[in-house]
Amino acid sequence: MQAIQASLDGLAARQRISAQNLANSETPGYTAQTVSFEDSLSAALASGDPTQTTIATGVTSDPPNINGNNVSVDTETISMIDTGLKYQLATQEMNNKFRILHDSTRQDL
């Protein structure tokens, strides 16, 4: 469950950054940001403690256009769809975990 929670946190952060990038798609001089957490989550899982996952932000290296902005609206939109689907998968898995927990505490079986 902690692993799923770390994954949900990372995906939510990525969704926020995508929203921020899209909000600034016309801001002069704005550089699009990215979120990475998968490698850290994988390493944290390998060491046995998923709560150690860190969410890192970076910047994209795409070339800027005339006003110094380098947000790619199509890439960000697809990232939002992709992240949304992954978030659904993770929440479903979390629901499954809770259902098992809930079923195991029922007395009326």
Partner: protein, 139 residues
């Protein structure tokens, strides 16, 4: 983004078509740009697109999309036009106009726009397919 590979592939095509549309719009924007004989005419821009090979772990034969790799330039001589009243004209009254053809540009613009729309349609279909796969489990 390798959990949903169709997104990566269609996304690369969206980017490529967008860059192509940018190049076409620059070509159209400069269709009336006049240069003196001492300089090169405005050169039409061509985007060179290449397919991206399969990512590791993908089945052989399924590619990785498309990427714009280079810009190539058209004729620098342009169309030499006699226009003696133009302030840029040389002593013989000649100036350089671009040799590009508006019909070609508009045709390419339609192709690029349709290509962009096609790939958006692919993303839409892929999204609903992936969504249904996610919903298999759902109660």
């Amino acid at each position: 983004m390798s959990m949903f590979p169709a997104f990566d592939i269609a996304s690369s095509a969206l980017t490529t078509h967008r860059i192509w549309m940018n190049a076409i719009s620059d070509n159209i924007a400069n269709i009336n740009t006049v240069k003196p004989m001492s300089e090169a005419a405005y050169q039409e821009k061509f985007i060179v697109a290449r397919e991206i090979p399969s990512a590791p772990g993908q089945p052989v034969g399924v590619g990785g999309g498309v990427a714009p790799v280079a810009v190539q330039y058209g004729d620098a001589t342009g169309t030499v036009t006699y226009d003696p009243t133009n302030p840029l004209a040389d002593k013989d009254g000649l100036v350089r106009r671009p040799s590009e053809n508006l019909g070609d540009q508009m045709t390419n613009l339609i192709i690029a726009q349709r290509g962009y729309q096609l790939n958006l349609a692919v993303i839409d279909r892929a999204k609903s397919s992936y969504q249904q796969a996610i919903d298999i489990n759902g109660r």
